[in-house]
């Protein structure tokens, strides 16, 4: 804290004592940088330790997913959406499948709806644990990374038993899901929750009482609510600004209207608040999963569909809540068996734009903390 105050006094623009004035210079950060969560590049204009201007450059992972979707049948697009956001493949599967179902006017059976909710919530846990690990790694703490990955592996084991894959699942299909889940899976899920829920305070104990963590996060990267609105910030990042906004409640899809859960909010909207919101969301996900265990009905898990089925001509937009925020899919069909246009509205694309404004005047070490706290994922941005 002392060093920080010293630097602030030394390099602040209002300091006209002339003790140490620095000239502006440009600093290139990325695309290969251990702290930028992938291949984000930031061209920073620096005045000493302080950022004057930041220009985020994306596109280093632009894999033309939207072009590929145009030359595949509706079913064949699902594995491509896996790669859209690899931390939560289920969610990106889900939003695409929902768009196709809305356009083709299909209603999945209730058991499939519950399985989808179970999978998305489990994936939210896996994604938040991944975020927790990497966020701490970037702030400089290595131990939480090992804690979170230990438990994330247990969630991945559950996925593996359901669909055979660890990371990219291709599980949520049009009209239902890939395979049914059995009672053993559900029991293992509850077993995992019983083991894992008491561990969440352990995660928090590693950071909450830590004075270094406090200094690095409290009051850093504050986003006022008006700024959130004009940029279109969504998900945990806007909830950290004190707004209880959640697509699961505002625009309920699947069976979320039958489930009870809270929307955690914080007021400060700084890095620490975003961390708190995500930790509390973990508990809400566990709560949803326990309700699904009680309520899941028996019955078919999918609709019998022709492989090359046709979707009537039209356009639609659906959106759901991903662990990062409001993810949407705009789908246009020309009446054939392939999408005419498939556009994904992704939360990270929105959040990276914010950095230009947000990083003005912060210190270099705070860039990592701020970037990590937004939970950006680059393939989702670049598509």
């Amino acid at each position: 804290m002392l060093i920080r105050t010293w630097w602030c006094a030394l390099t602040s623009p209002s300091d006209d004592g002339g003790a140490l004035r620095t000239e502006e210079f440009e600093l290139n950060m990325g695309p290969q940088h251990p702290s930028t969560h992938g291949v984000l590049r930031m061209v920073l204009k620096m005045d000493g330790e302080r950022v004057v201007d930041c220009d985020p450059v994306v596109g280093y992972l632009h894999r033309s997913i939207e072009k590929m979707a145009e030359n595949r049948t509706f079913t064949q697009v699902i594995p491509v959406t896996d790669r859209l956001d690899y931390c939560t493949s289920m969610t990106s599967n889900y939003v695409y499948v929902l768009a196709v179902e809305k356009l083709a006017d299909l209603t999945p059976p209730p058991r499939a709806e519950y399985i989808r909710v179970i999978m998305t919530e489990l994936n939210r846990i896996a994604s938040h644990l991944l975020w927790y690990g990497t966020f701490c790694l970037e702030i400089g703490a290595t131990t939480p990374f090992l804690y979170s990955f230990r438990d994330r592996e247990k969630v991945l084991d559950l996925f593996e038993s359901a669909c055979g894959a660890r990371l990219l699942y291709n599980y949520i299909r049009i009209g239902g899901v890939g395979q049914d889940i059995n009672q053993k899976f559900l029991d293992r899920m509850i077993e995992f929750l019983d083991y894992w829920e008491p561990i969440i305070p352990e995660y928090e104990a590693l950071l909450d009482e830590n004075p270094i963590f406090y200094n690095r996060t409290v009051g850093v990267g504050t986003v006022p609510l008006e700024m959130c609105r004009s940029y279109g910030v969504s998900g945990p990042n806007v909830r950290a600004a004190g707004v209880a906004e959640d697509v699961r409640r505002d625009d309920p899809f699947a069976v979320y209207k039958d489930l009870e859960f809270e929307i955690p909010t914080e007021k400060e909207s700084d890095v620490f608040a975003r961390y708190r919101v995500r930790m509390r969301e973990l508990r809400e996900s566990a709560k949803i999963l326990r309700q699904c265990y009680e309520k899941i009905p028996s019955g078919p898990y999918g609709l019998p569909l022709n492989y090359r089925f046709k979707v009537p001509e039209g356009e639609t937009y659906v959106h759901i809540e991903s662990p990062r925020g409001d993810i949407g899919c705009f789908l246009a069909s020309s009446g054939g068996d392939k999408p005419w246009r498939c556009k994904f509205r992704t939360p990270s694309f929105v959040h990276i734009q914010l950095f230009k404004k947000l990083l003005e005047g912060v210190l270099i070490p705070d860039i990592m903390a701020i970037c990590a706290s937004f939970d950006i994922v680059l393939p989702e941005t670049d598509r």
Binding site: H62, S64, R150
Partner: protein
């Protein structure tokens, strides 16, 4: 003493100890193979599996693999994920910044031939061995951590079989120009890319 039996060495016993005699190759290659430091360098989905391999359950450190954040301190580059044309010059630059001896593991389908992005993708480089030489390919989309560790063990075996002081016989780039024996990135009619040359995106656009 079981370990000693495995070493191709001659042990001469003298009072209060012994002298161990072995080949220089064996000592140097084992030193190289058992402390491979890899570059912390994630591109796409495979990077998450690379992180999982380094974390609690799979524990990459067992193989002597420790990540370093800068290319100057690394022996091994694990290309984890899809390489796009915009990113390709940077990866080549990173490879050239690594000190010799250096090794490359191409992880996942995307790095072999484009993987799921082979068809219909205009921006993905279809195979990293078009720009940097690759020693080991690990298949999968993404490969499981076990598969990646198997690839690393295979690489260690490869290193143990090397001869010190002799030029390494490595697979090299996929396209070698027979006339000049230089690696080819683009078709002969559109120009050559030589080793140690930084490629600009406009040159990459005419991939064969």
């Amino acid at each position: 003493m079981d370990l000693i039996k495995k070493i191709p060495a001659y042990v001469e016993r003298i009072p209060n100890g012994g002298i161990l005699m072995t080949g220089l190759d064996w000592v140097l290659n084992n030193a190289k193979a058992s402390s491979m430091w890899y570059m912390l360098f994630g591109l796409a989905c495979c990077a998450i599996e690379l992180m999982a391999t380094g974390a609690s359950r799979y524990d990459f450190d067992r193989l002597g693999m420790i990540f370093r954040a800068t290319p100057r301190q690394t022996d091994l580059m694990i290309v984890a994920g899809t390489l796009t044309l915009k990113m390709a010059p940077r990866v080549k630059l990173l490879y050239e910044q690594m000190p010799d001896p250096k090794y490359v593991i191409a992880m996942g389908g995307c790095t072999m031939h484009g993987g799921p992005f082979y068809h219909d993708s205009y921006s993905v480089l279809k195979g990293v061995d078009k720009i940097i030489p690759v020693d080991i390919h690990v298949a999968g989309c993404p490969p499981r951590p076990e598969a990646l560790m198997n690839g690393c063990i295979a690489l260690q075996d490869l290193i143990r079989g090397e001869k010190v002081g002799r030029k390494r016989d490595r697979p090299g780039l996929r396209h070698i120009d027979p006339a000049t024996n230089l690696p080819l990135l683009v078709r002969p009619d559109t120009g050559l890319i030589r080793p140690n040359q930084i490629i600009m995106p406009d040159q990459l656009r005419v991939l064969s």
